[in-house]
Amino acid sequence: MDAFCIDMSLNEENKKTIIISAISIATFVILWEFVSVFIVKDSLYLPSFHSVFYAFLERLTSAEIYIDALISFRHFFTGGISAILIGIPIGIIMGWYQNVFRFFNPIIEILRPIPPLAWIPFAIIWLKLTHEAAGMIIFIGMVFPIIVNTYTGFRNIPKIYVEAAKVLGCTKDFDLIRHVAIPAASPMILSGIRVAMGTGWMCLVSAEMFGVSDAGIGYSLWHFYSLHRMELVVLYMFVLGFMGLLIDVLFRFVIEKNLLKWQKGTVI
C-alpha cells in the first residue's frame, strides 16, 4: 500500500513537471508572438514566432539546412577529436610526472586565458579558408579544459590504488598509467571533455561567422543577418541550441551507460 502511494506521488510529480513545462513554453511562445506582432511590429527587431515557424517548415524540406548542420558537425568534430587526441596525452604526462607538469604548466597558463576567437587571424593565415581553420578555433576552445581536467584527475587519484597495484606486481609507469591511473581518473577526464564540448560549441558560430569557413550553421546565420532575414537567424539560433543539446545528451548517455557504469549502485 505504501509503495503504491509512493508510486502514485511520483507519477503525480512527473505529471506536474510535464504540465508546468508545457505551460512555460506556451507562455513564452504566446508572449513572444504578442510582443512582436502588437508591440514591436518590426520583423527586423523581433521576428514573430509564426514567421520563424513557417521558415522552419519551409527549410525542413530543403537540403541547405542539413548541409549546414553537417558542415558544422564536421568543424566541431575536427576540432574536438584533435583536442581529445592531443589534450589527453598531454594531461596524462603532466599529471603523472611532476617535472613535466612544471615544464608545461607555465606555457598552458599563458595560452589558456587567450580567448579562442583571438586565434582567428592565425587560423586563416595558417590554414586558409578551410574547414580545418574553423576546426582549429574549436580545437583551441576545447584543448585547454581537456588538459586541465585530465591532469587534475590524475593528480587526485587516491594513492591507495597506485600502491595496491604496486604490491600486486604492477610496478612500471606505463602499466600503472594504463591500468590504474586512467580508469581512476576517467570520470574527471570525461567531465573535462563534456565541459570542453560546451566551450567548443560556443566557438563554432564565431569560427564560422568570421569567414574562416564558407558554410555551416554559424556561417549561414551570419549570411541571413546580412540579408536581414531575421526569422531565419532566429531559426538557426534554435538549431544551434538543439544541436548542442543533442551532442551533450548523446555524450552523457553513452558515457554513463558504458564507461562509468561502475560508479552507479546498480550494475549487475
Binding site: I160, Y161, E163, A165, V167, C170, H179, W262, I268
Partner: protein, 263 residues
C-alpha cells in the same frame, strides 16, 4: 630456511620545509619469520608500525637496513609481497573477479587461467556468488575479503596486513579473524599483521612484537604457543594479554612523560 628477515630497519623522516629537522621513526628493527609464521606488530599510536609494514612492502624507503625474502634482498614492491590495506583498496572500476585476477594478469597469465585461479580464491573467502559485483555493491567486510583474496591470488611469499579489519564492526571482525586463521592454516601463509587491538594480536599470532613509542624500537618479542583456534578469554590468553597491555601502558606513560617535559 628463514622465509623473511627484517634486518636493522631504521627510518628517519626529514621535514620537507626544514631539512634540519629530522625525526627518527624506526630505530634498528630486526626480526625473522619462518615459513608459516603469523607475527603481529603492536605498539602505541605513532610508533611507526604502519611505516614498518610499508617498508617491508617496498612502498616506503628505509633510511638503512634491508628486507630479505627467501634469502634475497627485496626492497622494492612486487607480487611476491602481498598486502592488505586498512582502507578499502579495491579498484572500484573493476568487478570482484577482475580485481582478484589483476595481479595474475600483470604477471602475464592468460585471462582464462587468471580467472580460474582468481575464482578459487574468491570461493575461499566465501564470495563465489559475487564474482561479477562491483566494489560499491559490497559491504565493508566483503570488500576486505576480496582484498585478501586479491593478495592471496598472487601466491606471495609473505602477506602484509595493515589493520585489515580496523574499519569493521566487532562481529564481522571476529568472523573474518576466524576465516583468516583457516586460510592461514590451509595455505601455510607467512603473515605480518599490524594491529592496535591486543585481543586480535593474541587471538591470531604465533609471535607478538611490541614496539615502543617514537622512535619505534622493539620492546619485546612475545612468542605465543597456545594452539589455534584459541579461545578469546582463556586463562593463558588473558595472561599474555595482561603482559602486552602492561608493556603498552608503560610505553604510553613514557611517551606522555617525554611530551610533558618538552621532549
Amino acid at each position: 630456511m628463514k622465509k623473511a628477515e627484517i634486518q636493522n630497519i631504521t627510518k628517519i623522516f626529514v621535514s620537507k620545509d626544514d631539512r634540519k629537522s629530522e625525526v627518527l621513526a624506526l630505530d634498528n628493527i630486526s626480526f625473522d619469520l619462518a615459513e608459516g609464521d603469523f607475527v603481529s606488530i603492536l605498539g602505541p599510536s605513532g610508533c611507526g608500525k604502519t611505516t614498518l609494514l610499508r617498508i617491508i612492502a617496498g612502498l616506503e624507503k628505509q633510511t638503512s637496513g634491508n628486507i630479505i625474502i627467501n634469502g634475497k634482498i627485496s626492497n622494492e614492491p612486487g607480487p611476491k609481497k602481498g598486502m592488505v590495506f586498512q582502507e578499502y583498496s579495491l579498484f572500484p572500476w573493476k568487478n570482484v573477479i577482475d580485481n582478484v585476477s589483476f595481479g595474475l594478469k600483470m604477471q602475464g597469465m592468460k585471462k582464462e587461467d587468471a580467472y580460474k585461479k582468481a575464482s578459487k580464491y574468491i570461493e575461499m573467502v566465501g564470495l563465489g556468488e559475487f564474482k561479477y559485483s562491483y566494489p560499491n555493491e559490497l559491504s565493508g567486510g566483503m570488500k576486505q575479503r576480496v582484498a585478501i583474496a586479491r593478495a592471496l591470488a598472487n601466491e606471495p611469499d609473505i602477506i602484509l596486513m595493515d589493520e585489515p579489519f580496523g574499519a569493521l564492526d566487532a562481529q564481522t571482525r571476529n568472523k573474518l579473524q576466524n576465516e583468516l586463521l583457516n586460510i592461514w592454516k590451509n595455505q601455510k601463509l607467512t603473515v605480518v599483521f599490524v594491529t592496535h587491538s591486543v585481543d586480535e594480536a593474541v587471538y591470531l599470532s604465533d609471535k607478538i612484537i611490541v614496539l615502543s613509542a617514537r622512535p619505534g624500537k622493539i620492546v619485546k618479542e612475545i612468542p605465543i604457543t597456545i594452539p589455534k583456534p584459541r579461545t578469546r578469554t582463556g586463562n593463558e590468553e588473558n595472561e599474555i594479554r595482561d603482559e602486552v597491555l602492561r608493556l603498552l601502558n608503560h610505553e604510553k606513560y613514557l611517551a606522555d612523560a617525554s611530551q610533558l617535559s618538552g621532549e
